[in-house]
Assembly symmetry: C2
Amino acid sequence: MAMKTGVEIEQLIQLLAKLPGLGPRSARRAALFLIKKKDTLLRPLAEAMALAADRVVTCSSCGNVDTIDPCAICSDHRRDKSLICVVEEVGDLWALERAGALSGLYHVLGGTLSALDGVGPDDLNISGLVERAAQGEVREVVLALNATVDGQTTAHYIIDRLEGTGVAVSQLAHGVPVGGELDYLDDGTLTEAIRARRPY
Amino acid sequence: MAMKTGVEIEQLIQLLAKLPGLGPRSARRAALFLIKKKDTLLRPLAEAMALAADRVVTCSSCGNVDTIDPCAICSDHRRDKSLICVVEEVGDLWALERAGALSGLYHVLGGTLSALDGVGPDDLNISGLVERAAQGEVREVVLALNATVDGQTTAHYIIDRLEGTGVAVSQLAHGVPVGGELDYLDDGTLTEAIRARRPY
């Protein structure tokens, strides 16, 4: 591609194209958009990125990302320290936080076990979870892993590892999503929803 | 949204969400992706953006963006200076350059006339085009505007303004896109393609 744009613009486009959800075409659109809004968006975004690169760290306790370590959730004294919710990625933690669904703490695994991708137990933050669970303060571990084959394999592995620590292990309920229409749901979800039906 | 993330991350997400093609959800995904790849993507992108903000300027002759003024195209002596191709946005110029479709120079209007959006002739770089056309070196102006109502209104306005300068004005051919299937084309395009049919 013999583009007659400066190296700086080419470089910007190529880096933007690496973001999830942006391809080469939308990266070019984004680059032009940024250049057009140089002072209101390009400069502030460059500064926000530099700041994030300097300040954001991974919480040594739960694996969340924040500018303090332990993170704001781990160091919040109003949180229930006897409950740990295990998630695959930080994005899942954010989703649960947005929902305000949990008063306890989290533990980010950093992925799932996957034979295909060569991800073993040592590649995930599982030992850290077992250590936390064994410290005595923890009463229950909620597995909030994705309802995928890899997610469920990982859940079973974690249940095995937590055996003997004495903590109760639970998992998210399956069922009809709130606002969901039965007609559009898959057989597995419907079967689970019937099986786990509750009295009015 | 009571997110328990640092202000720095919140700020990064909010700025990323302003990019075209990214909404709040994909901005969060992009922010997490960037934080995960702090040294290979987040820092380089922050630097590329800061560099672009410092160095990229608008070409005072054609309106292209580049790190030199006049831009690399305007200062390329191998280019045919008697031919100016008028486009709406820099993205259109890039598209034509990628195709290697033109040996001449460009002129970026910065949009189209639009009564609805309150865009008048003075909001676009039309006077600059008339000045360039009147300088004597220019033989032909190709209008490469979008085949939309606003694009065509703008084309007619420019044709009026260029009257008396003596330059020939042409426009892009309408027809079947290369690789396109007739079945999927609209009536207007098919009618134009028949009307402008060419002998084998």
